[in-house]
């Protein structure tokens, strides 16, 4: 095999077969995957099957705390566990740009295997396509994930009630800040690590300790995106206390420097949980104990009014709206 991905690697011939064998099969090391059939057979434990899909595009491919592969596995697992599912199996489809170094691909695939093992999931089927140089940004990964939700467990915005408490499992904005930090074009040194990790253990620990109404991992658009989605979907008001939201000092630093708001930066290893008021302390203890962090926090409460809005109580006691994100957070000078 040469040093770089070529169009031949996607054309269904010997080159592709070799790539699949030497990179994917060998690294993922899964008996179902090794059958190389067009479909994977799944044996699911009893419960409600859950399916999720996601696509991953990130620049740079490698960043402190992870890479696109780890992001893909953890992101897919997290989408499943946010519904209370026990994740089982993943599929991944790769779109590779001609010229991508095979070493980079191998590193990423190994990283996926590590992340999958951490979360106890199998990668059982996949696909590979190669596009000409310029037609794709190095690598895109699309996944689907299957899990099983225990019977009777129903989480989601519809269960949110006035009086509920809102919790977050740790500091927000780490991943978004890490990506900005890692991009060469802003001239920063790489001191921020992404929080990219699978949350299956944390979620099941939480569910075992406390009643939970809804959970989400604040990815693209950050905390503000999830809070606004919940406010709209539930028809209630989410009131957040700015002072209670944990943010790392370095993330604050990058935000001050670039004029960004950490509440709009992505996380990839945090969860936001909405729990009944009388479960809040138990939930907090579970998050702190399992996550081994003291900065999990109760950050707010759900109220009846104003409908569909997220209100932020500032450190001064004033209140303002925390609006939904407008798009990608852009560094500013003004």
């Amino acid at each position: 095999m040469g040093k770089c991905v070529t169009l031949a690697h996607g054309s269904g011939g010997l080159a592709m077969e070799r790539l699949i064998r030497e990179v994917f099969l060998q690294t993922f090391d899964d008996p179902e995957l090794a059958r190389l059939e067009d479909q994977a057979r799944l044996e699911l434990p009893p419960g409600c099957p859950a399916l999720t899909t996601d696509a991953f595009v990130v620049d740079p491919l490698f960043f402190p705390g992870g890479d696109i592969g780890r992001l893909a596995v953890c992101g897919t697992v997290n989408d499943l566990v946010m519904g209370g599912a026990y994740p089982q199996s993943l599929s991944c489809a790769f779109i590779l740009e001609e010229g991508l170094p095979i070493d980079d691909l191998q590193r990423i695939v190994r990283s996926m295997k590590v992340a999958a093992d951490e979360a106890g999931v199998r990668i059982v089927t996949g696909d590979t396509k190669v596009v000409p140089k310029g037609a794709g940004d190095k690598m895109f990964i699309t996944t689907a994930g299957v899990g099983v939700i225990p019977s009777g467990l129903e989480l989601g915005a519809a269960r949110i009630c006035a009086g509920d408490r809102i919790l977050v499992s740790g500091p927000v904005g780490d991943h978004g800040a890490a990506i900005l930090d890692a991009r060469g074009d802003l001239g920063l040194t790489h001191s921020i690590r992404s929080d990219c990790r699978a949350l299956d253990g944390l979620v099941h620990s939480l569910l075992a300790s406390s009643s939970v109404h809804a959970m989400r991992d604040p990815t693209r658009g950050g905390l503000a995106a999830v809070l606004n989605e919940y406010a709209r979907a539930s028809g209630l008001c989410l009131r957040i206390f700015e002072d209670n939201i944990p943010v790392r000092e370095t993330v604050r630093g990058i935000c001050e420097l670039l004029g960004l708001d950490p509440l709009y930066l992505a996380c990839e290893g945090r969860l936001l949980a909405v729990v009944p008021e009388d479960s809040a302390e138990r939930a907090l203890t579970a998050l702190r104990f399992h996550g081994d962090r003291t900065d999990a926090a109760i950050i707010g409460e759900v109220m009846a009014q104003p409908v569909g809005q997220v209100i932020l109580k500032t450190v001064f006691g004033g209140e303002r709206i925390l609006d939904q994100p407008e798009g990608e957070p852009l560094p500013r000078i003004c």
Binding site: D181, G187, L188, T189, S191, I192, E249, T250, R252, G253, I254, E256, L257, G259, R332, I333, C334
Partner: protein, 84 residues
């Protein structure tokens, strides 16, 4: 306009181009000191100083005494009975 953030000068990275490495809450960036130095001035004396940074340039040295004075004036209002 004018997003400015305080940072501490860690080291001089390029004397000729007046560039320094500046720390903002653990984030380190190269910043130009051209606005706050005279040509030919040795920059090492600046190490440890705090500056106000805007678009990669230090616009001003932050005056520690003035900062204290401002805070003192604000704190002093608590006991100022002038307008009661």
């Amino acid at each position: 306009m004018c997003l400015g953030v305080p940072g501490k000068i860690l080291s001089i990275s390029d004397q000729k181009r007046s560039m320094a490495k500046v720390d903002v809450a653990g984030i380190v960036r190269e910043v130009s000191l051209a606005c706050i130095v005279e040509e030919g001035e040795r920059l090492e004396v600046m190490v440890g100083q705090w500056v106000l940074i805007h678009v990669g340039f230090a616009l001003s040295l932050i005056d520690e005494d003035e900062a204290h004075l401002t805070m003192k004036l604000i704190a002093g209002l608590e006991s100022d009975a002038l307008y009661r």
